[in-house]
């Protein structure tokens, strides 16, 4: 049955912790900055998107809704033929379904999707979690520059 030492050492631990400052962050008043790689919200760069639907098809929960139409754009070089381009009509991500896996960002071949560590977009109504392409476009401001890599890494060629 109880001898003193172990019990006393335990008391010491709690007392010491009490005298040290607490680690709590008072969230709405004080904010912790998430690391720049954090998967907070997906930002869409509309100009880059070619409506290829890869992201919508690869998403494991199919929570990306895309609609687009074809249109003619002026030729790139003078005298060339007018190009056919796809224009986005609708690009919605339903964040109430999204599981933040990042597959859509990874598969996008045209660099139209980016992660932003921004996380404050909770809504009282679940339907408001469906971000349309304007809302997704606004997140572009919050996309950080890619970080430098640790020593020994080989930079990715893309």
């Amino acid at each position: 049955m109880p001898e003193l030492p172990g019990l006393m050492k335990g008391l010491n631990v709690t007392l010491r912790t009490m005298l040290r400052p607490a680690v709590t962050t008072q969230y709405p008043h004080v904010k912790e900055a998430p690391p720049s790689r954090a998967r907070g919200v997906i930002a869409l760069k509309e100009e880059n998107c070619t409506v290829c639907m890869l992201c919508a098809r690869q998403c494991p929960v199919w929570c990306i809704y895309i609609e687009g139409h074809k249109t003619k754009a002026p030729p790139r070089r003078a005298g060339g033929k007018p190009r056919t381009v796809q224009l986005l009509d609708r690009f919605d991500i339903d964040y109430s379904l999204c599981m933040y896996c990042g597959i859509c960002v990874e598969v996008c071949p045209f660099d139209a999707l980016f992660w932003s560590p921004e996380y404050e977009y909770s809504e009282p109504h679940i339907a408001d979690l469906l971000h349309d392409k304007d809302r997704l476009g606004q997140w572009m401001e919050a996309v950080p520059e890619p970080e430098p890599l640790e020593a020994g890494a080989v930079a990715k060629k893309k």
């Binding site: 631990v13 597959i103 020994g152």
Partner: protein, 390 residues
């Protein structure tokens, strides 16, 4: 009484005895107590039906499946990258460790080997997720026995580890960082130094836990000799991980299997404990957490330079075949049996999760213990609900 014949006396005594037996049976009939499915000791929705005689358990039966999410079936209709993100959620406390055996199985079928740097980083994250998982166990065990403070320390220091995982992978809980042929991206600058300081913090945390809980005499009286599992029984029920090492079996897949991960490159020790009781399980896990910090430190020191991705086709199709890869996850042996028919997704995946087997010993080990010990034993066996039900 003298007026009664002997026959009458006997009938009387017999009647009394019969009545007594009826009463006896009524008394020991026991009470059925449902522990769970929603009970604080089951960390989730495990249900244990116990029959009690007073406070003593006559029989106990675990009922699983309240959290069944059908991952084995789901994998058949998803592609490999998608599966990778799904299986993160099996043992949600050490998500990265779930990815590794699956990816290794796929790599084996595709005959791809990730470059050494990727293997080392994989090992680092594997151990980090082990730490993130077991720190919580160390606190949880305290709180199950009434020492509420322990769990707050666990959450406090686990936070540092999660921050490191997030800084590199982008996801705190579900990193989805492993890829067939390598990793998603390389580490950010400054990560190695930062992780080293976190490892020192985790070691401090282990010391703190040891003084607060591990060497506490009340804790020892509650756990020593409680829920003893002899090694033969443990083997019979298919226990693995720290549970079987606490029964004295020196068996660790990190050392004993031939995965291409980097454990063989560093110097570490497999901890065992001869007793097989709840205290031994706690103690082994505590030592393993310390050992894991040392492994991470060594791996960080020797991290080779180079690419992190082998050459992999853009659209991943795994050639037909079957592969079984198991690794030593924080909870025990976790393995995937992967059957591929050459499609975008597997034909069938069998997932062997450690908690499922670890919990199967419950009817055996709970027989005859007191109700408070039920909680001690469940806590010390340590299971994650998602890992049981998948």
């Amino acid at each position: 009484m003298s007026m009664l014949t002997e026959h009458q006396q006997r009938a009387y005594i017999g009647g009394q005895a019969a009545e007594a037996r009826v009463n006896l049976e009524l008394e020991t009939d026991g009470m059925t107590l449902n522990i769970g499915p929603q009970h604080p000791a089951t960390h989730g929705t495990l249900r244990i039906i116990t029959r009690l005689d007073g406070e003593q358990v006559i029989s106990a039966e675990p009922v699983m499946g309240y959290m069944h999410r059908g991952y084995e079936k789901l994998t058949e209709v998803r592609t490999y990258p998608q599966i990778n993100t799904l299986i993160n959620r099996i043992d949600w406390l050490s998500s990265f460790a779930n990815e590794v055996p699956f990816i290794l199985a796929a790599e084996r079928l595709m005959e791809i080997e990730a470059p050494p740097r990727a293997q080392w980083i994989r090992t680092i994250f594997f151990e980090l997720s082990r730490i993130a998982n077991i720190t919580l166990f160390l606190g949880e065990m305290g709180v199950q026995l009434g020492a509420i403070t322990a769990v707050f320390y666990a959450f406090r220091d686990r936070e540092h580890v999660l921050n490191q995982i997030e800084a590199a992978t982008g996801g705190r809980f579900h990193p989805n960082y492993d890829r067939i042929g390598g990793l998603k991206e390389d580490l950010p600058k400054g990560w190695v130094a930062e992780t080293k300081s976190v490892m020192a913090k985790v070691r401090d945390f282990c010391d703190e836990m040891e003084t607060l809980v591990g060497t506490n005499e009340i804790f020892e009286t509650r756990t020593r000799g409680i829920g003893v599992i002899p090694v033969e029984v443990a083997l019979g029920y298919g226990l693995s991980g720290a549970n079987i090492r606490a029964s004295g079996l020196d068996w660790d897949l990190r050392r004993d299997s031939d995965t291409p991960l980097a454990w063989k490159e560093v110097d570490w020790k497999v901890w065992t404990h001869p007793d097989g009781d709840s205290f031994a399980r706690y103690w082994v896990r505590l030592q393993e957490t310390r050992e894991a910090t040392l492994i991470v430190d060594q791996l960080l020191d020797g991290l080779p330079a180079g690419p992190i991705m082998a050459k992999v086709p853009r659209i991943i199709k795994v050639p037909p075949g079957e592969a079984w890869v198991a690794t030593e996850n924080p909870l025990g042996e976790m393995g995937y049996y992967l059957v591929s028919k050459g499609d975008l997704g597997p034909f069938r995946v069998k997932i062997r999760t450690p908690s499922f087997n670890n919990i199967s010993i419950v009817p055996w080990v709970l027989k005859g213990v007191y109700v408070p010990d039920v909680i001690t034993i469940l806590a010390s066996l340590y299971f994650i609900l998602g890992d049981i039900d998948r």
